[in-house]
């Protein structure tokens, strides 16, 4: 370390280089904290640790509004993934994460490495991953890049998930021109572990060996692409791939090897190398344990020649983990990782001093106090203002559609509503032999049996960006409420959520206003529904040329079905049964699918979520399911009552005669998106008893239809054939994807 008298820049560093890593203000903080100028390696470490991705500097202040505790929460945010108690000594461990930007640049590898990364977050904690989900948002179907992106992202998710052998059981897919320049690829992983075998990242003791395991380090995805090549290793510029390539085969071996090592008494703590690989993993392990760490970079397994310390610390090579091992147990790790043909090397040790010390080729190349890098990273209270409130839509002002059956068919075939078979057919949904319901099944959430038991996890992802754009607060509430509703509809007890908060540039007050609104709305719903947030991820700056994506706070939720035989779906509708509508209908058409697809308008207030009503209605539906009084349940969301009825009818292959005599225009009753509602199917003989139960619970419920025939009709007219509905529903994706050139030569 040079001991010069506080020069502003260390040797070889210019103002330009410094500002390429951190802002001018942040540079001043570094100078003050260190009492000297940082060298290049140190600057690189600050830049990645203080990036939005690692430090959550724009969002931390607001994320603290989420409720994160609950009776069933074992570990909330702060660990690699959230951990909830599912009884019998077992825990479900889950998290959702974005891989938006890399997937836009290189859809196959971007999406694939997104899946790999989220899996590592889950098995790091000792869980065997048992399910994957994906929440995808693409641009306008007509945009020239959309097809390629859909093809590449789908292939990448499948390519990785199928190979590692974890079923991809569900997800959601939206299309909106707002994502033309910034697609969203959010992946969620769920795992299972025994509650007494959960691993965390915090270092516990000084002088414990630090092990590097997994794949070798290359020059993948190193930050600072704009920097002059002189800062990198000799001739390395062209060897520095901007995208990371995933290797699911190595990941599969890594899962097996880590779980094998976890079953031995050897690991003190463990952390995956995610974004900012070696830097963030070592810093986080040491600082969350209140310790320090020393690494000798000469021992890091390297894929390329002449790698510099800067490159090694900033590399984002995939499929790597850092393990703090109990002294004397290194040989156990070595045996296991060798067996699986993976690299394993002791690269350093924990230390009592609270610093990050790196050696390379015999020299100290970094010596930083950990507090300013981690705990004391900058935290911004960015200015924001709330979105302007939109007026509600009066259906009387809208044009009355002529043939309601035709309207229903075009909604069922619209991009957001249409079947995503083309996508999920490419995902192995059944491997591991515990999938009871996945994308192909008529169920509002995926259902995955807890291996070897009669219990099951219910899993869903939800968000309606239309609503969040119209009203961030209500939209945030709605995303959480819909997830809760979807779990309820399959008969599960909702337990907790993870999230992936995708927004534009937080330095713009209106975008920050969307963020704050959504977070506050989500927090309110989580509190009211006793549905804590146990993990999550923030992705900001999703904008191009000043155009931001619609606010998209994706929610991933997990619930428990205590008895598999009581699981529910929406495919059980039978000829002669009645359809009952739970919840109140005011015909809310603001920000609805109907308004967008049929009227071509995106306006109006989003539907309001009354959380007390949501809870009351849901609890009633769950109890009706458990009482065995219903044969099918479907929540109402996009497209309202008529689209939900169409889903049920198509799944069962039996028609529905809808009847309405109230005061609303019929189309508003059919397609309004009022919240907190469900359709349930029951035998006519059970309907009276159900109505009595509903009345007792103060839940509005009416008979709205009768099952039979092969059409959907309304008040005896407007009939549309189920075959026609199915063609519309199944037709959109193949028409978009087939018969035209594929993006790139398939691997």
């Amino acid at each position: 370390m040079s001991e010069a008298v506080n020069p502003r820049y260390a040797e070889g560093i210019t103002e330009e280089i410094a500002l390429d890593h951190v802002t001018a203000d942040e540079y001043e903080i570094i100078l003050k904290e260190l009492g000297r100028a940082p060298n290049l390696v140190e600057l690189g470490i600050f830049s990645v640790m203080w990036s939005e991705h690692c430090s959550y500097k724009s969002s931390r202040l607001h994320l603290s509004k989420f409720p994160t505790k609950g009776e069933k929460v074992i570990y909330g945010p702060g660990e690699n993934a959230g951990v909830i108690d599912i009884g019998d000594g077992q825990a479900a461990i889950f998290k959702m994460e974005s891989h938006n930007h890399p997937s836009y640049i290189e859809p196959y590898q971007g999406a694939a490495t997104g899946v790999g990364g989220i899996l590592r977050d889950v098995f790091t904690m000792g869980a065997r991953p048992v399910a994957l989900m994906n929440a995808l948002r693409f641009g306008d179907p007509k945009h020239p890049k959309t097809r390629q992106l859909v093809a590449g992202v789908t292939a990448g998710i499948g390519g990785y998930g199928n190979c590692v052998g974890v079923p991809t059981v569900g997800g959601e897919t939206n299309f909106d021109k707002g994502y033309n320049g910034n697609i969203l690829v959010n992946a969620m992983a769920v795992g299972l572990a025994d509650t007494d075998k959960i691993f965390t990242a915090a270092a516990r003791e000084p002088d414990f060996p630090v092990l590097y395991v997994g794949a070798k380090t290359g020059r993948d995805g190193i930050h600072g692409a704009t920097m002059a090549s002189a800062e990198f290793g000799e001739g390395s510029e062209e060897n520095r791939p901007t995208v990371q390539v995933g290797d699911p085969f190595t990941e599969k071996k890594l899962i097996e090897a880590c779980l094998e090592l976890m079953s031995e008494d050897a690991i003190s703590s463990i952390q995956d190398m995610g974004a900012a690989g070696l830097t963030s993993s070592s810093v986080e392990m040491a600082s969350s344990g209140g310790l320090g760490i020393e690494l000798d970079l000469d021992h890091v397994p390297q894929r390329e020649e002449n790698m510099t310390a800067y490159e090694m610390m900033l590399s984002e090579s995939q499929e790597r983990m850092l393990i703090i091992i109990k002294p004397g147990r290194e040989h156990v790790a070595e045996r296991i990782f060798r067996k699986w043909d993976l690299d394993v090397a002791t690269i350093g040790k924990t230390a009592p001093h609270g610093r990050l010390v790196l050696r390379h080729k015999g020299e100290v190349v970094c010596d930083l106090p950990l507090d300013p890098i981690g705990e004391n990273a900058p935290k911004y209270d960015r200015p924001w203002f709330p979105a302007e409130a939109r007026g509600s839509i009066d259906p009387a002002d809208l044009h009355q559609p002529e043939h309601l059956g035709e309207v229903l068919a075009s909604l069922m075939g619209s991009p957001d509503m249409a079947s995503k078979r083309w996508i999920w057919r490419q995902y192995d949904r059944h491997v591991m032999a515990d999938t009871a319901a996945s994308s192909e099944d008529p169920a509002d959430a995926a259902i995955v049996r807890v291996h070897g038991t009669n219990k099951a996890l219910a899993i869903t992802t939800d968000c309606t960006p239309r609503y969040c754009f119209a009203d961030p607060f209500e939209g945030g509430k709605q995303a959480v409420a819909e997830a809760w509703r979807n779990l309820t509809a399959v008969g599960a007890d909702p337990i907790a959520i993870t999230d992936c908060l995708n927004f534009g540039n937080p330095e713009r007050p209106e975008i920050m206003g969307q963020f704050v609104g959504c977070v506050e709305g989500m927090a309110e719903a989580c509190k009211a529904l006793d549905f804590p947030v146990v993990s999550g991820n923030v992705s900001l700056y999703n904008e191009t040329d000043g155009v931001a994506i619609p606010p998209t706070p994706a929610v991933g939720a997990v619930g428990l079905i205590p008895d598999m035989s009581q699981r529910m779906g929406y495919g059980g509708l039978k000829d002669g049964q009645v359809l009952l509508l739970v919840g109140e209908t005011r015909g809310e058409l603001g920000a609805s699918l109907y308004l967008r697809e049929i009227e071509g308008q995106e306006k109006g207030a989003s539907p309001r979520v009354d959380l007390a009503v949501e809870k009351r209605n849901g609890d009633f539906v769950r109890s009706a399911i458990r009482a065995g009084k219903v044969s099918a349940v479907h929540d109402l969301s996009d497209g309202g009552l008529a689209c939900a009825a169409a889903d049920m009818a198509m799944a069962a292959g039996v028609g529905v005669k809808l009847a309405y005599t109230g005061a609303l225009p019929v189309f508003a009753w059919m397609f309004g998106e009022d919240q907190g509602r469900y359709l349930i199917a029951a035998d006519a003989t059970d309907a009276e008893a159900l109505r009595a139960d509903a009345k007792a619970a103060d839940v509005p419920m009416d008979v709205v239809g009768l099952a039979g025939g092969r059409f959907i009709s309304i008040n005896g007219g407007h009939a549309v054939d189920l075959i026609r509905l199915k063609q519309a529903h199944e037709g959109f994706m193949p028409a978009l994807m087939d018969g035209e050139p594929e993006a790139r030569v398939a691997e």
Partner: protein
């Protein structure tokens, strides 16, 4: 004419396939194998007589479809 296009990963890009093949060759006793990189071989039959035009058109095909410029490079060989 015929074009033979080689599409290969840029240096520095991870090649898990090549690595697996290299390990497997070592296991099979081919200890002289120090490393393997796997790429694609694309053979194209062209209704073109003009070599210069063919060269240019095939390069265009590579840029548009055959190679992924983010991670791959290519070269082209023409024959009659």
């Amino acid at each position: 004419m015929k074009a033979r296009v080689h599409v290969y990963l840029k240096p520095g890009v991870l090649d898990p396939q090549g690595q697996a093949v290299s390990n497997s060759l070592n296991h099979l006793g081919f200890n002289e194998v120090a490393g393997v990189r796997q790429g694609k071989l694309i053979e194209i039959d062209l209704n073109t007589a003009d070599a210069e035009e063919a060269q240019q058109r095939v390069a265009e095909m590579c840029d548009k479809l055959l190679a992924n410029p983010v991670i791959e490079n290519y070269d082209i060989e023409l024959s009659a």
